[in-house]
Structures are given as structure tokens and as C-alpha cells.
């Protein structure tokens, strides 16, 4: 069964304390892996798309990497405004219903000043 698992569920960091979030996936026919940021009471906001193992993308303090089985979202020297839930989604080919997005349950990040 296709599955996306994120860890940890919650993470508390001191401002400036770097860390990584993990997204592991078991899907067949991977078309792309997506990272989103979701603030409380709002819809997810797109961050990155990764398509193949070895690919990396960066945006400010965030860097996303991809292997054949997992992706990491590295946060370097986080600030309180980076506090949010980070969602991972995998798009996979489905022979019956086309291309499907499978979301993980997210990592809730809190950065303490």
C-alpha cells in the first residue's frame, strides 16, 4: 500500500538550533515529492518539489533533499517565524485514477526565541 510517513510528529527548537525533518515514502511510480508549510488555520503553502534521487532545493533557511526512499527538510539556524507544520506529499501514478497525491501527517515545528 502506498504510504507517506513523517517524523518527528512535533519538534521544538531553540532559535538558531539547526535540525532536520524526515519524510519516508513507499509508493510505486513516484512522479514527485512536495514540501508544504501550513500555518494554523490556513491552507498549505508550497515550498519545494523534488523529482529524482540526489536532487536538492534551497530557499532561505530551508533545504530539501531526496533519496529513493525518503526526503529531508533541513532547517538551518531557524527563527520563530519558521514555526509551522511542514507537510510532505508524494505524487504517484495510479493506473485507475491518474496521478494521486499522498500526504503525510506533518511535523509541527516550534522555534523558541
Amino acid at each position: 500500500e502506498d504510504q507517506v510517513t513523517q517524523s518527528p510528529e512535533a519538534l521544538r527548537l531553540q532559535e538558531g538550533e539547526s535540525s532536520s525533518l524526515n519524510c519516508s515514502y513507499t509508493v510505486s511510480g513516484l512522479r514527485g515529492l512536495f514540501w508544504y508549510r501550513q500555518d494554523p488555520g490556513k491552507g498549505p503553502e508550497f515550498l519545494f518539489t523534488l523529482y529524482s534521487a540526489g536532487e536538492e532545493k534551497e530557499k532561505e533557511r530551508l533545504k530539501a533533499t531526496l533519496t529513493k526512499k525518503e526526503s529531508f527538510l533541513h532547517i538551518t539556524a531557524p527563527k520563530p517565524e519558521d514555526s509551522a507544520t511542514y507537510l510532505c506529499a508524494v505524487q504517484a501514478e495510479n493506473v485507475y485514477t491518474g496521478n494521486q497525491f499522498y500526504f503525510g501527517t506533518g511535523t509541527s515545528l516550534t522555534v523558541i526565541p
Binding site: 491552507g43 508550497f46 505524487q91 500526504f103 503525510g104 506533518g106
Partner: protein, 113 residues
């Protein structure tokens, strides 16, 4: 510059009383999606439209229906809301269904009394 707009932001309904949630987009995207997201859970795809072609997820309850009268608008109808239907409902769009990131609205938080 809002691109995916959901109304209302908060909706309260009574058990069994039909309710309609609306979504509009200014992106002229072909694909529109409805997701259900409960607290601390992954967004769950209910259905999506590619243009006017409707795709229903196998496990979406019959209680949920959708309409897309034109490219810009999409509606989610819940015929007889139950307590378990209380959730955030997210509308999203993408230009195409393959390899495309999703643009989300801010969501409608539905409460069922």
C-alpha cells in the same frame, strides 16, 4: 492577490442540515481538488475535477458531492452532515494533474452542532 478563495472562512451547521462550501480561483487552472483535513491529520482527497471530468475517491462517503459549473468555481455539498464531518475543508488547484504543485485556499473550518 488571493488566487484560491474559499468562502466562508468558518461555517457552523446543525447535524443533518445540508451545507455548501464554495471555492473560486483566478489562476485558470484545469484541476480543482477538495480535501478534508482533521486536526493533526493528513489532508484527505475527497474528489477532483480535471476540467469538467469528475473523479471521486473510492472511500469518499456518498454524503459528499461536488459541482464545478465553470472553470473558476467549485462547490462542496454535504447533504446530511454528521458530527464526524467537522473538519477543515481545503480547496486546491493545479494547472495540470501531472507533476504540478497544488495551490491551496485558506480553507473552511466546518463545525457540526
Amino acid at each position: 492577490d488571493a488566487m484560491v478563495i474559499q468562502n466562508p472562512r468558518y461555517q457552523v451547521t446543525q447535524f443533518g442540515k445540508p451545507v455548501t462550501l464554495s471555492c473560486s480561483q483566478t489562476l485558470n487552472h484545469n484541476v480543482m481538488y477538495w480535501y478534508q483535513q482533521k486536526s493533526s491529520q493528513a489532508p484527505k482527497l475527497l474528489f477532483h475535477y480535471y476540467d469538467k471530468d469528475f473523479n471521486n475517491e473510492a472511500d469518499t462517503p456518498d454524503n459528499f458531492q461536488s459541482r464545478r459549473p465553470n472553470t473558476s468555481f467549485c462547490f462542496l455539498d454535504i447533504r446530511s452532515p454528521g458530527l464526524g464531518d467537522a473538519a477543515m475543508y481545503l480547496c486546491a488547484t493545479s494547472r495540470e494533474s501531472r507533476d504540478e504543485k497544488l495551490f491551496f485556499g485558506s480553507g473552511t473550518q466546518l463545525s457540526v452542532l
